[in-house]
Symmetry: C2
Subunit: 162 residues, 2 copies
């Protein structure tokens, strides 16, 4: 099925929310959880992870909470997913270095490693700021996303004409 975990989803949503409310003082896990109806304690742990990895700045105590530690433009979906879900491997046997550590019997992995890379690259192009502007009515005009769509078309054409 190749899907993100809910945690990663929640993490992206939370970062988006923070990016949407830049003026305010820090927002608590509870605030964000209520906004999206996410289990608060679960979200809390996700935010802690993101803070530990330097994506968020945390602030304990009264009126505490989280703020983005970096700009929304500089945080990619790839980073977020990687922090929350761990390294992304499409195959079940690949290692971080890119090769398969099973027996030589599995030779499928080489091309799939490339798929893996492609997915990574796509995710690296998606920034938190892209999520913010992603109002369904206007998303087609979002520059970065549009780039991806365009290039997707190029791929189509290229293969088609091959």
């Amino acid at each position: 099925m190749l899907r993100l975990t809910k945690k990663a989803d929640y993490g992206l949503m939370a970062l988006k929310y923070l990016a949407e409310h830049p003026g305010q003082a820090s927002l608590s896990a509870k605030d964000i959880a209520e906004a999206y109806r996410i289990p608060p304690q679960l979200l809390a742990k996700i935010l802690q992870q993101l803070a530990r990895e330097g994506l968020l700045q945390s602030h304990a105590g009264m009126n505490g909470g989280y703020t983005l530690a970096r700009t929304a433009e500089s945080i990619t979906a790839f980073e977020v997913i990687r922090i929350i879900d761990g390294p992304l491997f499409i195959t079940s046997c690949a290692t971080e270095s890119g090769t398969c550590d099973l027996t030589s019997s599995c030779t499928i992995k080489e091309p799939l490693a490339r798929v893996n890379d492609s997915i990574s690259e796509v995710l690296k192009k998606i920034r938190i700021s892209d999520l913010v502007e992603a109002d369904p009515a206007h998303v087609r005009h979002s520059s970065n996303i549009q780039d991806l769509v365009t290039i997707q078309d190029q791929i189509q054409d290229k293969i088609h004409n091959a």
Copy 2:
């Protein structure tokens, strides 16, 4: 983690194996399972699924087994994965039509739906025949894969120069 299930892996491996042995009469699930040290009964079910969906031609009885129902060039990794793992959704709430069926609270989904599309496209470019020629030493010259890599570079450039 965003990974394929073992079943999908096994399915791809089996198809690759069949594509590599075109001359022979049909190969049994047991034959293939032994070649890759996969649990035979598990592989059997996977092959049954693929046969049901028209990717394989099955043949019961003595000297029976499976053969590719279509050419290795015409079967894509996307199809295989979809048949085995079901529709591929990167988000946990997306529907087959592409939109999110949760409350409006989750607005992340639009851009991620595009990621989803991108991944699908990449997987559609990988054909079983690509797996066959994917000897590590020569994979870089495999035309189709090379296309992907090249286009990936184009994406890099395009974004970089934006």
